[in-house]
Symmetry: C2
Subunit: 99 residues, 2 copies
């Protein structure tokens, strides 16, 4: 298949999987409701995106660097809020253990 045809998939794919984290980070930040969010997911994902950024730097690809910098920032926000929530719950359980 030609490069032009594959780019028809590649560019919107990169755009969508990058901007997808905008509504998630915004919702998590605004509501502070992290109940359904998986801590292991955001731990693995944020680490993975940081490695993608390293890959982009290694191969010198500006689109890979740009997309993964944005995703790294947004995923880090969600991860940070989730860690804060997990610590808050752990602290509350220490004060008032569940019966």
């Amino acid at each position: 298949m030609t490069t032009e045809l594959s780019n028809l998939f590649g560019y919107p794919a990169a755009f969508l999987t990058t901007i997808a984290f905008v509504p998630q980070a915004w919702q998590s930040w605004r509501t502070r409701n992290l109940a359904g969010i998986s801590l292991p997911m955001y731990t693995l994902f944020t680490l993975g995106v940081a490695l993608w950024l390293g890959y982009g730097i290694a191969i010198g690809s500006l689109p890979v660097i740009a997309a993964n910098s944005i995703t790294l920032l947004l995923a880090s926000v969600v991860l940070w809020l989730k860690i804060a929530e997990t610590r808050r719950i752990a602290l509350l359980r220490k004060i008032e253990p569940p019966t």
Copy 2:
């Protein structure tokens, strides 16, 4: 930078961002708690991953096809559960509108 060195980033990056969705899909399936999950995020992300799969097919890359097939399946589970929860809440609001 050499290809070997960039692959040191690329392969673990692809592995982590793919398997990250396993704990999220599992938690969402098990708990049915989708409260903190953003519907726009999973809509955009699932569509984006489907396009990445199309890209993988277009360039004939087996690793891209494999990784995105797994992510597409896992992200679809979360999206499907979120849609089900959103419809359930909308139905409940119709029966009993919030005061």
